[in-house]
Symmetry: C2
Subunit: 105 residues, 2 copies
DNA sequence: CCAATCGGTAAGTTGTAACTTACCGTTCGT
DNA sequence: ACGAACGGTAAGTTACAACTTACCGATTGG
């Protein structure tokens, strides 16, 4: 089915668990198990989400003994932010013209 | 499955067809059939997306003969925008502190 | 070493959202 | 009044993403 393609920023942050992980990592870096404790999902599920976030460049990971610490990647975050902003710019340009026209009526 | 709940802004704009519709309506109001012509999906599919967008307060519709013209609802759009911004604010607060700390190292 | 901790991966399930086709009511022009 | 255009809705399918459990390798401490 899938009409268009590409795991863009919307698809990445479209998942609530992923957003929770991002917010969590924004406060401080965490190991996988720590994240799982704070979320209502299993550790493997967290692992899979982290994979998506890492592929998207949103997080970096670092081995620390048997643990693996994940942290937000500032560059990735701001890139994603920019990507989403583009949608609003495209949408709101042209749109404000319409609003102005209608407010005359 | 679904861990959290609520058709929030992310779920609404998470769908590419819906984003395309919003961008389309941002340029100018359109009838359902017109939208369907510009999109690679059927007219009923468009109708269903419009329902979601209308329930979310993102679009308004107006009967015009046998046709029904949809247009973006400015208030809804800006409300949605604000909702998404809240995520970034929550995320980026606390996060910039971390970035600053790391840039010292 | 051995046991324990930690995390990634494989495999399988399952709910759901995005579509389709088919149908029906409404509006309008002639 | 009839046919055509238009759009909403019902019903069914289907692809997929988000989970789960089970397993396995790697690291570490005693």
């Amino acid at each position: 089915m899938e009409t268009y393609r590409g795991p863009d920023g919307w698809e990445i942050l479209g998942d609530p668990s992923r957003r929770a992980i991002v917010e969590c990592l924004a406060r401080r870096p965490r190991a996988v198990g720590e994240l799982a404790e704070e979320l209502p999902i299993s550790r493997p599920a967290v692992s899979q989400h982290l994979r998506v976030l890492k592929d998207a460049g949103l997080v970096d990971d670092e081995a620390a003994g048997t643990r693996r610490v994940y942290r937000l990647n500032p560059a990735g975050v701001s890139a994603l932010r920019d990507q989403l902003d583009m949608f609003w710019q495209r949408t709101l340009r042209g749109f404000e013209e319409i609003v102005e026209n209608e407010e005359q009526a």
